[in-house]
Symmetry: C2
Subunit: 161 residues, 2 copies
Amino acid sequence: MKIRAAAEPDHDPIWRIFHAVVATGDTYAIDPYISREKALAYWFGADIQTYVAESAGRIGGTYILRPNQSGGGSHVANAAFMVAPDARGQGIGRAMAEHCLSEACRLGFRAVQFNFVVSTNESAIRLWKQLGFKIVGTLPVAFRHPEKGYVDVFVMYRSLR
Amino acid sequence: MKIRAAAEPDHDPIWRIFHAVVATGDTYAIDPYISREKALAYWFGADIQTYVAESAGRIGGTYILRPNQSGGGSHVANAAFMVAPDARGQGIGRAMAEHCLSEACRLGFRAVQFNFVVSTNESAIRLWKQLGFKIVGTLPVAFRHPEKGYVDVFVMYRSLR
């Protein structure tokens, strides 16, 4: 598996993954009906580094890395990860997360923060904890899960120093 | 004091307040050298309600109200407040915050969240607590204060139900 910076030819596979991930509406606070144009504008926005995980010529996942805030908050990174539904269970998420921590260090960030980890997303939370992230905040019933109703959301944080 | 929706003629006073507030770099995670154009684009962005506090024909403060997230997170509002440095101590911040809670209710939000309250901003924290906000998260050394160095940041949250 190779993780590399995304480029224009990756737009199609990234959109397929993005669409499949947000369409279920159970992990991301993103409109499940977002257009391809808006999704790609978001995923390739200003100040955003976009990466893909490629294996045997196929893109199985993608992630973004960016400053979580501007000005006096720009030393803390934010990241978001998406794995193609039919490529789960292969360690792509973990490989991207490890790559992300390394990239965040290389780019000079002092910490990585996830702003919105839905509390029912247990596999993600388990992985983030294994990688040293801690829950530093709990947002009460801040997410409307399509099956479970209003559920809590975690803010997770990992220092890189 | 009248608090009302902002309009185009308010751009000048809003920019003066915005610039004065972010230039000190000690409360907002915004580039202190942000341009007028970018500042107004941010303060009047898509999905954002913008308000001003007016007294005797003078704009003493401004605030924004918006969904903090999209999709399954859009029932939680986010807000940000700015008071002109020479208009502080007159209750403008409190009046705008009370107006904001009322507007958030009227617009159907279920809660209001502040994502980035710098821990050294004691007057703001005291006001938010008086208005029913609780600290639900602490982001370790997530803000670089121009005099105090790296300081913690709070996530604050208030249910409207």
